[in-house]
């Protein structure tokens, strides 16, 4: 096989004939290459995408009310994406926003979230990480007060701290319970390593060794020993997913 027979990314997306049925995403990013990568990845996950390259374009597109989630670069050719978000929030637009930025300090992150951003992703990032976070924003409205969770064959009693998998009781350590609960609240959704680090263990940085994988491995063995199926599957190198399909 020669290299010329490899399809370029555009024809890859063209190959998918069926319409994109996911939630539409507005991406405001002034670096064309990065914007294109984001678009391809989101479309590959079924999200229709609109691109805007300037703060003004982004503001107009956001006001149109088409997108279910916004992705805003913080620095748009001299304009601050945060100010656009502030304008939108001031107008009562409640659409979730993912802020992407080259500014990585914690202060900048807090600044971004205060301005009305819902999540903050630091450049350089993996576009798959971005997609996972966009999907997490879209599904965020779960009931935090639930005392009982169910996903596929797994049931979780949050009061008694008990887990049953395919009818059998599973004995979990507290840290394993905490980890599984995070997945149970996001069934079928891609959960990235950095999301787990941040949300489950409060690690606001990338741990050096693959501790997350070891933790998942332990949890997986405890769940899988009760049956044959893999409940938590790996997803394309970026993270994991709790499988709810039978």
């Amino acid at each position: 096989m020669s290299i010329s027979s490899l399809e370029d990314p555009k024809s890859l997306t063209a190959r998918r004939a069926q319409p994109l049925e996911g939630d539409p995403v507005l991406v405001v990013e002034d670096e064309p290459d990065l914007a294109e990568e984001i678009r391809l990845e989101l479309e590959a996950n079924g999200h229709p995408v609109r691109l805007a390259a300037t703060a003004a374009e982004g503001l107009a597109a956001a006001r149109a009310g088409w997108a279910a989630v916004f992705v805003f670069d913080r620095m748009l050719q001299g304009d601050d994406g945060l100010s656009v978000i502030e304008i939108l929030r001031g107008e009562g637009v409640a659409t979730p926003v993912l802020v992407i930025s080259a500014l990585s300090s914690v202060d900048e992150r807090i600044h971004g979230l205060k301005a009305g951003g819902d999540d903050y992703l630091v450049k350089p990032f993996d576009v798959r990480e971005l997609t996972a976070r966009v999907e997490a924003l879209l599904r965020r409205r779960g009931d935090a007060r639930a005392t009982w969770l169910r996903a596929g064959d797994i049931e979780m009693d949050l009061v008694e701290r008990k887990v049953r998998c395919a009818g059998r009781a599973v004995d979990l350590l507290p840290r394993e319970f905490k980890l599984l609960e995070y997945f149970m609240r996001r069934p079928g959704q891609i959960v990235t390593r950095s999301m787990l680090l941040e949300d489950v263990w409060n690690f606001k940085f990338m741990a050096q060794t693959n501790v997350v994988d070891v933790q998942i491995g332990n949890l997986r063995r405890k769940l899988d020993s009760t049956g044959t199926r893999k409940f938590i599957v790996n997803v394309r190198a970026v993270g994991f997913k709790l499988n709810v399909e039978p």
């Binding site: 990585s104 914690v106 840290r175 741990a207 050096q208 332990n218």
Partner: protein, 458 residues
């Protein structure tokens, strides 16, 4: 140009101000003397004259004349002018050409221009005129020339005293100003040469510990630090280039070879995966470098909060426990009491997790990792000990530097550097000791750390 600078110099301006003050004070002193001298002299003369006039009021004309002639020839009481006029105003005798223009009231009056008896010139004088019992008028007068001469002497003395003072102060001012401006000239020259790239130059220091000297010393210390950072930056730059270039070159080689070989999709995929792994390695390095910079940018101290360092250690140990178990490494923690620390909890968690990460990574199967946290002498203290291969003594300093990779290292050499940076930010000291076998990383708060809350409170 230098001479102009001298007059513009601060020292010279100070000298001028000093000069003004000295001149004003001297002039005031002399002025007082001047006034006092003339006033006292005039008053004394006036008293004598009034007294003489009163005494001669009732003397007979002849007696008076004799007495007055005696006065004029043997002037004990220094009467310069004596005269007697009759009731009609005609002069009976005396050396006053005409009746002075003063009231006849027995009181002293100053006459600015009195013609001398020889009518050669006029002088200021003081006169008393008194009417006698017989209607005549007796006039006594005294020249004020001496008093006025004294005043002039005082003025001359003032001028003589002031002139050298002024010259002296000006000279001293110019001397110090030129010295100061020469010194600044030298400092300026040093700064220019540093700006031109001679980073090893230093500002001249005069060893007299004055203000300028202190500033020069401080600037030199700053330059030392900048030079050290520049060196470090250069090393880091070289290391970054190496760390990034290697995986990128490997990735490039893999892709290049796959393209050349045209060996089918399976081999192409393998090459792509290999290349991807190399690119991932490069991005991990970039992320770690950015992390150190993010921590170093400081300004975080205003976000410092109180937290329990012991609890943070326990969390980190819990997080790493599965990894340790999977490597059959026994990990224990001893953190009995709460350890109150003021700082950035997330960063401290990162620092301790880097230490624990290292410890687990370098401890062989069956080894032990022990984390301890306690208050020692009132200061927070954390130790992470392993039974790995330890740190050779020649590397004990170096391992905290960016990109240092010792024999035992397998990572990107940034974990300890991040931990060190975070420790610094909190005023903690991070050191490594022998655990025989293995290494023991100790992080202890210093007195400086206890100052951190005060800074944060500002």
């Amino acid at each position: 140009m230098l001479s102009l600078d001298v007059f513009r110099a601060r020292a010279f301006r100070l000298a001028l101000a000093f000069l003004l003050a000295v001149s004003a004070a001297t002039a005031a002193a002399f002025g007082l003397i001047y006034l006092e001298v003339s006033r006292a002299d005039v008053q004394r003369s006036a008293a004598v004259l009034v007294d003489e006039a009163a005494k001669s009021e009732d003397d007979s004309e002849d007696g008076l004349r004799r007495a007055l002639e005696l006065r004029l020839t043997r002037d004990i009481r220094r009467l310069d002018y004596v005269a007697l006029f009759d009731a009609k105003g005609a002069k009976l005798f005396g050396d006053v050409p005409a009746m002075p223009a003063i009231p006849v009231d027995g009181q002293a009056h100053v006459v600015p221009e009195q013609l001398l008896p020889d009518a050669s010139r006029s002088e200021p004088a003081i006169f008393v005129a008194r009417r006698r019992g017989d209607g005549g008028v007796v006039v006594f007068g005294r020249s004020l020339r001496e008093a006025y001469d004294l005043q002039e002497t005082v003025l001359r003395a003032l001028a003589i005293a002031l002139a050298p003072t002024i010259l002296l102060i000006l000279a001293i001012g110019a001397f110090f100003a030129s010295r100061a401006s020469k010194r600044f000239e030298r400092i300026h020259g040093a700064i220019v040469s540093i700006m031109n790239g001679e980073i090893h130059s230093r500002l001249p220091v005069a060893n007299d510990w004055d203000d300028v000297d202190k500033v020069a010393r401080a600037v030199n210390l700053m330059l030392d630090e900048i030079e050290r950072l520049l060196d470090q930056l250069k090393n880091v730059g070289d290391n970054i280039a190496h760390d990034l270039r290697t995986p990128l070159m490997v990735a490039r080689a893999k892709i290049d070879r796959a393209l050349e070989e045209d060996a089918g999709i399976a081999s192409l995929r393998a090459a792509m995966q290999g290349a991807l792994a190399q690119i991932d390695k490069a991005s991990v390095t970039i992320a770690a470098i950015l992390r150190v910079s993010a921590v170093e940018t400081g300004a975080r101290q205003k976000r410092f909060k109180d937290f329990d360092l012991g609890a943070v250690c326990a969390e980190v140990v819990e997080f790493y426990q599965p990894l340790a178990e999977s490597k059959f490494v026994e990990m224990t923690i001893e953190a009995a009491q709460p350890i109150p620390v003021r700082g950035d909890e997330d960063l401290m968690r990162e620092a301790i997790s880097n230490l624990v990460d290292n410890a687990v990574k370098f401890t062989p199967e069956g080894g032990r990792v022990r984390v301890e946290a306690a208050m020692v002498e009132g200061l927070p203290w954390v130790a992470v000990a392993d039974t790995g291969c330890g740190v050779p003594s020649q590397d004990k300093e170096k391992i905290f530097r960016r990109f240092f990779r010792g024999e035992r290292s397998g990572g990107n050499g940034l974990g300890l550097s991040i931990a060190q940076t975070i420790a610094d930010l909190h005023g903690f000291q991070l050191t490594v000791e022998d655990n025989s076998p293995g290494a023991r990383f100790v992080m202890r708060g210093s007195m400086k750390a206890s100052l951190v809350p005060a800074q944060a409170a500002e």
